[in-house]
């Protein structure tokens, strides 16, 4: 580790390193010593490049990730909810696509999120894009602009709360 005036440079985030190495092992589908050595070297280099500087933008994001059993559990719970919503979104979409006459009333709605971390907000925006009848048009700070396919079906505010609520709870615990 080396200390400069303001910036701490180090190996980087262990989470990122483990993620990269597991990815390398899966893609190569082999545990030969030479491949492991090469994988460790490449993963270390990328980890240092992207999270070595503590005060850099990506460095802060990766360092804020702490993999605890609780975070992991909430992440899995989030994935479960997400997959159910994805199937529901598709069944809803099939109804519109195969309707004799497509009768929709779209609109753009503003939603506040209480998630603070960039990764959490990214995951929330991605989830909203894949849940029934909604698509994120823009993300400014803590405000999401969500395009709804049919704003007549229910109260927009209430529907938004229903979509964002369950994701937010688990993402907040997983990403902070």
């Amino acid at each position: 580790m080396k200390l400069t005036s303001k910036d701490v440079i180090s190996i980087g985030s262990p989470t990122l390193f483990i993620l990269l190495f597991v990815l390398w092992a899966i893609v190569n589908a082999s545990l030969e010593p030479a491949l492991i050595v090469a994988g460790v070297a490449v993963a270390l280099a990328i980890t240092r490049l992207f999270s070595g500087r503590e005060r850099s933008w990506s460095g802060r994001i990766w360092r804020s990730l702490a993999v605890t059993p609780r975070a992991l559990w909430h992440f899995l719970a989030y994935l479960g909810i997400f997959l159910i919503e994805l199937v529901r979104a598709n069944v809803g979409m099939l109804r519109y696509v195969y309707a004799r006459h497509i009768d929709i009333h779209p609109g753009v709605v503003k939603v506040e999120t209480r998630l603070a971390s960039p990764l959490g907000r990214l995951a929330l925006a991605n989830s909203i894009a894949l849940t029934p009848g909604s698509l994120v048009l823009g993300l400014e700070g803590s405000v999401l602009y969500v395009h709804w396919l049919d704003v007549r079906t229910s109260d927009r505010e209430e529907a938004t709360r229903q979509i964002v609520g369950p994701f937010e709870k688990h993402l907040e615990a997983a990403f902070g």
Binding site: L23, I26, V27, A29, L86, V87, A89, N90, M93, L94, Y96, V97, Y98, I102, D103, I104, H105, P106, G107, V108, V109, K110, A125, N126, S127, A129, L130, G133, S134, L135, V136, L137, G138, L139, E140, G141, Y145, H147, L149, V151
Partner: protein, 124 residues
């Protein structure tokens, strides 16, 4: 590797192909770019996942690699939908005539400057 597994795998792939077809039909039938992006994003994601799952049933030894591909599809598909829809919105692409309120356009207008829509997003 029984024949039954192969039939199940083929059926799952077929189901995925059905969703992909529906996505294409949705892109053709929806009234404006935003609703088309919605149809395209959701149905292609589930369609892709089902095709990958079907392949996994056919070739269980590929399962981990297919899982990685599924992860990348899940992360990148929505991102491209944000990029496309935000670009369409900034280019003032007209929305379907049945569209109601547009909170994003209203907020840009409230910002005052005529080019609020083209200003890059400010990081706090």
């Amino acid at each position: 590797m029984g024949a039954a597994m192969e039939i199940v795998g083929s059926f799952v792939v077929l189901l995925g192909a059905f969703f992909l077809f529906s996505a294409g039909l949705g892109v053709l039938r929806m009234p404006d770019p935003f609703t088309r992006i919605q149809a395209g994003t959701k149905a292609t994601t589930l369609g892709n996942l089902l095709v990958l799952a079907g392949l996994g049933i056919h070739h269980p030894d590929w399962a981990l690699k297919l899982l990685v591909i599924a992860g990348f599809v899940l992360m990148t598909n929505p991102v491209s939908s944000h990029a496309l829809s935000r670009a369409a919105h900034r280019a003032r692409t007209p929305m379907a005539p049945t569209t109601g309120a547009d909170a994003l356009r209203e907020d840009e207008a409230a910002d005052g400057s005529g080019n609020a829509g083209s200003a890059p997003a400010q990081a706090p």
